[in-house]
């Protein structure tokens, strides 16, 4: 089957794929930073113990986790303009991905914080450390160790989710495959190439995840 592939076409379209790869990479990077911020805020609200902060955070997290990402993207894509808010597709897409990933990140962070023994927090309390000091010196250094690998896992999921933005005509990697398909009708070649580039990103992130895990586990054993 591979013998029938027209590799020349792929080379012809390489600049298109590379620009698609570039925007997938940039969208992912921007989304990841924003999603981290969103996740930190949502997690802080969720564990604050203050009901007026807690309930909105829980509602946000559960809505994001219980509905398909594609629906969330469409909701913003068609919903925002009907509210009179007009933003370019690419920003709509980034907002949708940010909100979606942010909810998962909030839960990853919360699990990390909860993994720290309550007794150590009481030890901190009884020596007079305040909330910020307990977070900074006791909880976060330990929580970070257990959160980094699942955060990178979430980053991998998020990169692949950017493919859905092709459906609201954002010019990213999957969209370049669609463009080539519609111009030349060679879907197999087009999407094989697209898949190959996603795999490249995946293996880079996976390498990072494995490396961080080794580092962190090593730290646990001392």
């Amino acid at each position: 089957m591979l013998a029938n592939f027209n590799f020349m076409v792929i080379f012809e379209y390489l600049p298109l794929f590379l620009s698609g790869l570039k925007s997938t990479f940039l969208i992912s990077l921007v989304t990841l930073v924003l999603a981290l911020i969103t996740g930190i805020i949502a997690c802080s609200m969720r564990i604050s113990g203050i009901k007026t902060l807690q309930y909105p955070a829980i509602a946000y997290i559960e809505i994001m986790r219980s509905t398909p990402l594609l629906i969330q993207i469409y909701f913003l894509y068609f919903g925002l303009p009907s509210l009179g808010i007009v933003v370019p597709e690419i920003q709509t897409g980034i907002i949708a991905l940010m909100l979606n990933s942010g909810a998962y990140i909030a839960e990853i962070l919360r699990a990390g914080i909860k993994s720290v023994d309550q007794g150590q927090i009481e030890a901190g309390l009884s020596s007079g450390l305040n909330y910020v000091q307990r977070m900074r010196f006791i909880i976060l250094p330990q929580a970070l160790g257990v959160t980094v690998p699942p955060l990178l896992g979430q980053a991998i999921v998020m990169v692949k989710d950017t493919a859905l933005l092709s459906l609201i005509s954002v010019a990213e990697l999957t969209r370049s495959g669609q463009t080539m398909t519609s111009e030349r009708f060679m879907p197999a070649e087009a999407f094989l190439t697209v898949a190959f580039f996603y795999m490249c990103i995946y293996f880079c992130l996976k390498y990072l995840a494995d490396w961080s895990q080794r580092k962190l586990i090593f730290r646990e054993v001392y």
């Binding site: 023994d117 007794g119 150590q120 009481e122 030890a123 901190g124 309390l125 009884s126 020596s127 007079g128 450390l129 305040n130 000091q133 010196f137 006791i138 250094p141 330990q142 730290r219 054993v221 001392y222």
Partner: protein, 242 residues
Amino acid sequence: MIEFKGVNKWFGKLHVLNHIDLKVQKGEVLVVCGPSGSGKSTLIRCINKLEPIQKGEIIVNGMSVHDSATNLTKLRTEIGFVFQQFYLYPHMTALQNITLAPVNVKKIAKAEAEKIGREKLDRVGLAEKADAYPAQLSGGQQQRVAIARGLAMSPEIMLFDEPTSALDPEMIGEVLDVMVSLASEGITMCVVTHEMGFAKKVADRVLFMDEGKIIETGKPADFFDHPQTERAADFISKILSH
């Protein structure tokens, strides 16, 4: 130094502390014992407000513990707390565990705090373990570091919640030895323990609790040899048969 005035506490429907009245004098060593679930841990955890209370008042050093106007940080720096499970911070060395609160709560300069920290480690016989992580220490050593961590704040009161119950038998002695020498230095101590030897040696008073009530108090020799109540006699015969 510590005074309970009509203290009541509930966990839901469970009446864990049932009208507790108690005075602990400066320099006194009080041993608290009683069956599991009788409220011993809850009693001493109320002293530094690890637990809220619903009725009554606790006064420590003239400060009303559960009054929201009380400076809780100041109160807690005057009270050291040693847990059954040690609860050292696993990502810090022994010395870092000890200097964390002096540097950040008492705002003592780092070099000075480390000097105090090393003194306290020496005090519990672990001078050479300053740079060891908790995972590299035995249970007895970890508990001694935890005691040094409490001492580094120069507290007037030390609270111990079953400090030797999580230890292998051969390590109990080394921890008790440290506590015995502390008792002779005049620190006010409240110790939840079933170590009768320790109680007889250093306690000024033994307090026996059951079902959230103080059933009996007395000098250790009187309490262990001639308990006044049947419940206490029953309890003592049980710990003796171990």
